[in-house]
């Protein structure tokens, strides 16, 4: 909300600098977003800036209140005038093109001089002819043969608004010769209104907060103009159908007025506050809304009488009944639902309660009598209607957050006064006030100890009472307990323990968060425990990063189409199981993912043109809607994707070829080894994304924990990869993590020398290599410290359908030196076992 400083000062005396004021507002919860100076000096540059300042400062030497004594025609140009102007020191002739001076052209010396904002030579101001706000310096030039070096300013040139149609005509009592900044220098402070502080979307509300902090009294406006018209009672009536929807409705009447432009100071305030002046009737309603926070609505009274068949109108408020429409004053016909509240008369709907008036009963240039509405509405209904109709109005904004019904009569009174003052007319006596449901205004009790317990600071009862009293709570102090009656302008204070918290916030805000001392937690510690799942996931990440893989984190929002790419035709996840968004931001982010593999493949694809070696992994959740009307399951997965070169060839390092199945398998073996998992086995398997001959299931003991393999070439075709083959692993963390042992045992290291020996055996191609190694290990027992497969050979020398496996064996004992006899015996035992069980033949070359 935009707060013109001059307006705010109507309600409180302030002696704070702009920065102090901004700091004070921010610290009570009205965060200052920007301060736009309108003439007032910008703060000095101290090297530390707390707030953002914009706007134009008016140099007091250069910008002066001046008076135009005569408007003369320009000898050569119809659209220009020459003004005889006095700036308090001397007389000048100033060239202008302002259309609003034309009516005075050729009238000779004006009886009533025109007061204007005059800029002298070298003044720095905004260029009125350029779009936006561009600074320029007034220079001496010649226009159509007439020398020009100073000017009469428009609002835009002074930074008041973007109005550049004519020059500002100041009120006639403006003192000629005074620096303009002293006469009307201002600043607009823009604050963010928190959802629970809608009471402060008003000048009085903001002033009240300042009054609470500074102790300066709040000057609450009240009506001064007396009613001289007839009694209102017989001129209008109100019927409220549902007090829950409409707790209060107030009407006042002004007769015999005529809309005209509002006084300049009113227009200026409205513009500075961000509203467009319309005419003196509409401006009065807007002015009072900005002043009090209560939106008002003006009806053309004569239209209502006409609709009532010449009789006094009866205003009826009710919920929409099925199938009703209303044309709002923006000339849009709007279909309505049963949550909408309508203001009607006996002839039908007039306006959308609390949001926008209807077109028919709107105030126009011909309006002479105004029935003025101030009311209070159920905020939920107002919110639902404005959000359903996408109708954002200043009234809807306030009523949609809750406006206290007590404000209605006060605001109508102020509205009547302003309307009569600015538009003429007389005010009918009294108000029609239907107030079936006053709110509760809770009485809350809070103690010094309550405050101590929640805020950690001891504030004496008297001080608490002072803070609350300045916020207009009515307080009774007895001992350490304060009983506070909620003031009739706010709906945000609850009852009991909630009310206590609400008061706590008020006390803390005004006492200032800055004054609450910083302490360390001294309360009892909860029972300490580990988050093992998280710890193990983080350990897996560290191991994989150490093995040369880069972690990625991808969107969990995706589309079925994107995921389909990661699978062979017809093997995609069940579309029924997707968690689908009702309101996706785009079709490509419309479901929660069921495949982490698809996410990682997208990363590989994206980086394929950036890096020659691709090695990524991600740990994250999947989302599977297993049952209707239940929250989905969110299993955790690990996916690894590798492709491209094994290493990056550079000048001293040759190309070692492309990554293959065994590079990926090595990563997994190392990972599982570092997690101290035992009995790990790999078995051929199938997977809907993978190559049928190059895929293995990983088992830890009997538990399958995932698969690894080559991405199926047909699946790969769905992606824009440059590299020859892609290798992926998909690990089920729900299965893996519980298997990771909490502790593991280390192995002793032998001090006795090892005996090294190589053996090569020939087996049938179908014999799996891990079977051979397992037998070797089993037979070798404790004395066989290590076995390493160092060669696999297939070829003519051993015959078709066979392979030769060469192992390097290390015999070593913990307690003695192995003699050659012992190692030979062991070796023979191993070979015999392989011969017997696998039909192996010892290869001797």
């Amino acid at each position: 909300m935009k707060i013109p400083l001059s307006w705010l000062k109507d309600y409180i005396d302030l002696d704070l600098s702009l920065e102090e004021l901004a700091r004070t507002l921010t610290m009570v919860g009205l965060e200052v977003e920007v301060i736009n100076v309108i003439g007032l000096p910008l703060p000095e540059n101290t090297g530390r800036q707390e707030f953002k300042f914009t706007g134009l400062a008016w140099n007091p030497e250069k910008f002066i209140v001046a008076q135009i004594d005569e408007v003369m025609p320009h000898p050569d140009a119809d659209r220009l005038t020459l003004c005889r102007l006095h700036d308090g020191i001397q007389e000048w002739v100033v060239l202008t093109g302002a259309p609003n001076l034309f009516p005075y052209k050729g009238m000779g010396t004006l009886e009533q001089p025109l007061k204007v904002a005059y800029a002298r030579e070298d003044a720095i101001l905004y260029d009125g002819h350029k779009p936006g706000y561009e600074l320029t310096k007034l220079k001496r030039t010649k226009i159509r043969g007439v020398e020009s070096f100073s000017m009469v300013c428009s609002e835009k040139e002074l930074g008041i608004s973007d109005e550049h149609e004519g020059v500002i005509i100041l009120d006639s009592d403006a003192p000629t010769g005074t620096p303009l900044v002293d006469y009307m220098g201002d600043a607009v402070i823009e604050v963010a209104i928190l959802p629970n502080m809608i009471r402060d979307a008003s000048m009085v509300g903001v002033a009240r907060e300042l009054s609470a902090v500074t102790g300066k009294p709040l000057k609450v406006p009240s009506r001064k103009v007396t009613s001289t018209g007839p009694k209102i009672d017989d001129l209008a009536a109100i019927e409220i159908n549902d007090p829950n929807l409409n707790p209060r409705f107030v009407l006042g009447l002004v007769q015999g007025l005529s809309p005209k432009p509002s006084p300049y100071w009113v227009q200026r305030r409205l513009r500075l506050a961000g509203m467009r002046p319309i005419n003196s009737i509409v401006d009065a309603t807007n002015y009072v809304m900005l002043e009090t926070g209560e939106p008002l609505h003006a009806f053309d009274y004569d239209v209502l009488i006409q609709r009532a068949g010449g009789k006094a109108p009866t205003i009826i408020t009710r919920a929409v009944t099925k199938g009703e429409n209303l044309t709002t004053l923006d000339d849009v016909e709007r279909p309505l639902d049963q949550h909408t509240i309508l203001v009607c008369d006996t002839a039908g709907p007039l306006s959308l309660a609390g949001i926008m008036g209807g077109l028919e009963s709107e105030v126009t240039e011909t309006t002479r009598n105004v029935l003025l509405e101030g009311a209070s509405w159920n905020f939920i209904n107002v919110r639902r209607t404005s959000s359903r109709l996408h109708l954002n109005s200043e009234a809807g904004y306030r009523f949609g957050r809750g406006v206290h019904p007590a404000l209605a009569s006060w605001a109508v009174d102020l509205g009547l006064e302003r309307m009569a003052a600015w538009s003429g007319g007389t005010i009918a006596q009294g108000l029609v006030d239907n107030y079936p449901q006053p709110p509760l205004d809770p009485l809350v009790s809070i103690s010094v100890q309550d405050v101590e317990r929640k805020l950690g600071v001891t504030i004496p009862a008297k001080q608490i009472a002072v803070i609350l009293t300045r916020l207009e709570f009515v307080c009774k102090v007895s001992g350490d307990v304060i009983e506070a009656q909620t003031p009739p302008h706010r709906l945000d204070i609850g009852e009991g323990v909630i009310g206590k918290a609400d008061l706590m916030e008020e006390i803390a805000r005004i006492y200032s968060y800055n004054n609450i001392p910083e302490t360390n937690l001294a309360d009892e510690l909860p029972p300490q425990r580990n988050n093992l799942e998280l710890a193990n996931e983080e350990k897996i990440k560290d191991i994989l990063a150490g093995l040369g893989l880069q972690e990625v984190i991808t969107y969990r929002l995706t589309s079925i189409e994107r995921e389909t790419r990661a699978y062979l035709l017809g093997q995609t996840p069940d579309p029924e199981n997707y968690v689908r968004l009702l309101n996706p931001i785009a079709p490509e982010r419309s479901v929660m993912r069921q495949s982490l593999l698809a996410s990682v493949l997208e990363v590989l694809e994206k980086n394929a043109r950036i890096r020659e070696r691709l090695a990524f992994f991600e740990i994250g959740s999947l989302f599977i809607q297993e049952e209707e009307n239940n929250l989905p399951v969110e299993p955790r997965k690990l996916v690894i994707g590798m492709s491209g070169k094994r290493n990056i060839p550079i000048w001293n390092q040759k190309d070692t070829g492309n990554l293959d199945f065994y590079d990926l398998k090595g990563v997994l073996e190392e990972l599982l080894e570092k997690l101290h998992l035992e009995a790990v086995a790999y078995q051929p398997t199938e997977h809907p994304s993978m190559h049928p001959g190059k895929t293995a299931q990983i088992l830890v003991g009997q538990t399958p924990i995932g698969v690894l393999g080559e991405l199926h070439p047909r699946v790969k075709q769905n992606y824009d990869f440059l590299t020859p083959a892609v290798y992926v692993a998909e690990i089920d963390l729900e299965a893996l993590l519980p298997l990771i042992p909490l502790r593991f045992e280390s192995q002793p290291v032998s001090v006795f020398p090892p005996v090294l020996e190589d053996i090569a055996i020939i087996v049938e191609e179908a014999v799996p290599a891990d079977r051979v190694e397992a037998l070797i290990r089993q037979t070798g027992g404790k004395l066989l410290a290590d076995v390493r497969l160092f060669d696999v050979y297939r070829g003519d020398r051993i015959g078709a359908g066979k392979k030769s496996l060469a192992y390097s064996m290390t015999y070593q004992a913990l307690d003695h030196t192995i003699e050659s006899g012992e190692s030979t015996a062991l070796r023979n035992k191993i070979v015999r076992r392989l011969e017997r069980e696998l039909g192996a033949v010892l290869r001797d070359n």
């Binding site: 929640k454 302490t519 998280l534 880069q550 991808t554 994206k606």
Partner: protein, 347 residues
Amino acid sequence: MSEKPIILAELEIAQQKALALLAEIQDEEPLQAWKREYLGKSSTVMSAFSSIGQQSKEFRPLVGQVANQVKQALEAALEERARIVTEAALTRKITDERVDVTLPGRQPITGGLHPQTLVLRRIFSIFAEMGFQVYRSRDVESDEHNFELLNIPAHHPARDMWDTFHIDQPGVVLRTHTSPGQIRVMREQAPNPIRAILPGMCYRYEQISSRSEIQFNQVEVLAVGKNITFGDMKGTLNGFVRRLFNADVRTRLRPSYFPFTEPSAEMDVECFVCAGKGCSVCKGSGWLEIMGCGIVHPAVLKNGGYDPEVYSGFAAGMGPERISMLLHKIEDIRYFWGNDARFLEQF
């Protein structure tokens, strides 16, 4: 007495000559040649030994003795010379050896962690030392946990604060914040005291831009106990911020609004880019918004199973992406889930 055998003279000559030559030798190869010449099988010394038998008996001991002396002298000299030669060779080698230190090194295969894993770990570890434990909960949440139990009833104005993704199941949303975890952890722990960190991915219906994402991490801090105050919240969060950024960073708390805390506050830290002078990062204000916090609302405590007349607590929520962006001058939030290797490899 017969004449001294000629071999004695030959030995003396050989010794003189050998020693003279040895003194000139600079390299290993001539040294070996010298050794063959003067200590090898056919050398004078070795011939002297083999000639002993042919000498007259009276001189045999003398020849043996002299030959031995010469051999020892030559061997000693050789050893000394060899030492000098080796030393000189090493010196030469060191002097001559040079690599072009400007050529690039051999590239090790490296991997790395995502920047958000790294920043989350920093956050966890700072809080862990204050006794806060990590508690994770689900991404797809019930409206009840995400809103209702957090004191945000349907159609409440506060709902405007979150643009929510709804699921085709009624009453289910993508969590808009990690706060629903507050309810879950409270219901699990009540009536024990709580010090918990709740990290997780959250979702908001927004246009994706360099400043806003539809998916983002959040870390929630929750402390519940019998004696927890606003002052404790200040102390704990200030301690955290000082450890995360630097020891003497200035902070401020200003009033804010969250339906699940009261009083609520926004914590700002002094902009460390411009030291509070005002810059583009802090949008000219000198302050950076770093987290929202507040005293747990009594309705939330009650919903979590704690009696608000007995228990109190504080909660705070921060955005790890924002923290990374500030710490590392990342100007586009889309980098995080964009996963371009050129970005990721910088961390």
